[in-house]
């Protein structure tokens, strides 16, 4: 390993290409942490947003008018405002109100910037997911649900065992699109200084003055990350494709 790092140090001496993230242990550690933060942020937001989507879609079919109204307003708010504005709204608006006095009497935020980024991005993608799942659920015939009820399933049981698995396969292409967009949107967390890959890179290039190198690394890392995700999702989409329902694979 050390030989590889030395090679990059030598590369700097020979060509001036200054990739400190390889030969400098401190920068290497920083960048790795940033990369991991981006991955964690993306994974946590994906899981949360899918959970929000499933629950929201279920609530949309609820008999209570109030619940349906809440979901409706939630979707309207998060769909029609830019995610950056939502992030600012949560962090600077709501976050400024939610403060306690910490040690030394200083105002101390209750929810950290990382948590706000996770919440805000999950809610943003979740709003789309609710509609995506809803469209999938609507495609499951009423007769199928009735058949499940006739077999003694409760509403919840039928939803979990019959409707959702079918709906999931139908809406997977749309869901994948949205999740890919979500991963790209994690860069917005930079605006509230969450230490993810973009933020860490900006720290490194201001310390080391190696903007072109870091920019290239950053771009390659992001394209790689999203590319892998798209590839995996695509394979999954193909595997989960409902036979007889048009080829989802050709849409992207």
């Amino acid at each position: 390993m050390q030989a590889l790092w030395n090679w990059f140090a030598g590369l700097h001496d020979r060509t001036g290409i200054n990739l400190t993230i390889f030969y400098d242990a401190f920068d290497r550690h920083r960048f790795a942490e940033g990369f991991l933060t981006t991955v964690k942020l993306a994974v946590v937001c994906m899981v949360l947003s899918v959970a929000i989507g499933v629950i929201g879609a279920w609530l949309q079919g609820s008999k209570l008018r109030l619940l349906r109204a809440i979901v409706y307003w939630y979707i309207q708010f998060f769909r029609n405002t830019p995610p950056l504005v939502q992030l600012y709204f949560f962090y600077f608006g709501v976050g400024a109100v939610l403060r306690t006095s910490g040690p030394g009497g200083f105002a101390h935020p209750v929810v950290s910037n990382v948590a706000w980024a996770i919440l805000s991005l999950s809610f943003y993608a979740g709003a789309f997911n609710v509609e995506i799942f809803r469209s999938g659920i609507e495609a499951v015939p009423r007769a199928t649900v009735e058949a499940a009820e006739a077999l003694g399933y409760s509403r919840f049981g039928a939803y979990g065992h019959i409707v959702l698995p079918l709906a999931f396969r139908i809406c997977l292409p749309a869901l994948n699109n949205n999740l890919v967009n979500l991963v790209k949107a994690t860069t917005l967390a930079y605006a509230i200084s969450v230490p993810e890959m973009l933020w860490v890179s900006s720290q490194i290039w201001s310390d080391e003055l190696n903007v072109p190198e870091m920019m290239s690394v950053l771009l390659i890392c992001y394209v790689g990350l999203v590319g892998v995700l798209v590839f995996v999702m695509h394979r999954w989409e193909k595997a989960m494709h409902v036979p007889g329902l048009g080829s989802a694979a050709r849409t992207r």
């Binding site: 504005v85 608006g93 499951v140 749309a174 699109n177 949205n178 920019m215 590319g227 036979p243 849409t251």
Partner: protein, 297 residues
């Protein structure tokens, strides 16, 4: 009868999962355009604007109530800053229009490149499109902001590249990739009989694309293209992160100069109303076109 699903798929015949078949046509998620272009579909309603107006009025009212004696009223403060903020907003519009124009011009050729007959051209076009589609917008914006020089010398004349021009380049790249996908999808959605009959009438391939396929594909391209523009117009605020003096940056500066925290919500909702007024007609028109073209078919 060969029914069409959404915009792109004929309903296949064979199936081994009959449980969903009766609803196959409802399978397509609510907006096929959304799935197809990979971008969220902007659906603005008039009441969204009213809601924004309500937020603005209420927050301005609260701010007014908190304004101490002897200080200028909220409305007076807003009017004072409006010319400056509006000049910033014009930058946003200029960035979005230029990025869209540039991105579209290159994107059309990139999209056509993806259906070229030469495999290397196809490969390169595919790679470029997917590279810029997979890169986050903000990273591309950073890339252009930091790596483009502040001036370029062309034939001895030095052309300065101010921040907002660099931001335009940064936003034009993802637009280009998305337009390429829109063009490719539209071209591929045209029935192959169109190609064959045009070829039978002795049109060359270039003529077929420019005179027969693209004009017909226009119907399918226009709604997602306009939707892309609406998204781009809203995303120009990303330029504030990289320090372009556009409307969000200027609003922040104005609030800093006033240092009255109660003005935060009135100012930002005021700006949001501008964006709404700009994007709403586009969204409305997109929906109308989509509907008209859907009936047409």
């Amino acid at each position: 009868m060969n029914r069409r699903l959404g915009w792109f798929e004929p309903l296949p015949q064979a199936t081994d999962l009959p449980v969903l078949l009766p609803t196959a046509e409802r399978r397509a998620p609510r907006s096929p355009a959304e799935l197809w272009s990979g971008l969220p579909r902007i659906r603005l309603r008039a009441w969204h604007g009213l809601a924004l107006g309500l937020v603005f009025t209420l927050s301005a009212g609260f701010a007014e109530a908190q304004t101490g004696a002897g200080r200028p009223s909220v409305v007076a403060t807003l009017i004072k800053w409006t010319p400056l903020l509006f000049s910033g907003f014009l930058f946003n519009i200029a960035i979005s229009v230029l990025a869209m124009a540039g991105g579209t011009a290159v994107g059309i050729f990139l999209g056509l490149g993806q259906i070229a007959r030469r495999a290397p051209v196809r490969g390169v076009a595919w790679l470029v499109t997917h590279f810029f589609r997979n890169a986050p917008w903000l990273v591309l914006l950073f890339f252009c902001m930091y790596l483009l020089p502040f001036q370029v010398t062309v034939f001895g004349t030095t052309v300065p590249l101010p921040d907002w021009v660099k931001a335009t380049f940064g936003l034009a790249l993802p637009v280009m990739a998305n337009v390429a996908e829109i063009v490719r999808g539209a071209v591929q959605s045209i029935p192959s009989a169109q190609w064959e009959s045009a070829a039978a009438l002795a049109f060359t391939r270039r003529q077929i694309i420019w005179m027969i396929i693209l004009p017909q594909g226009m119907k399918r391209m226009l709604p997602p293209w306009m939707n892309l523009y609406a998204i781009l117009a809203m995303d120009t605020v990303l330029a504030s992160i990289v320090g372009v003096n556009e409307v969000m940056t200027l609003t922040g500066d104005a609030l800093g100069a006033e240092s009255r925290p109660e003005l935060l919500l009135p100012f930002y909702s005021y700006i949001l109303i501008w964006f709404f007024l700009y994007c709403y007609p586009i969204a409305l028109w997109t929906t109308r076109l989509e509907r008209r073209f859907a009936v047409d078919r």
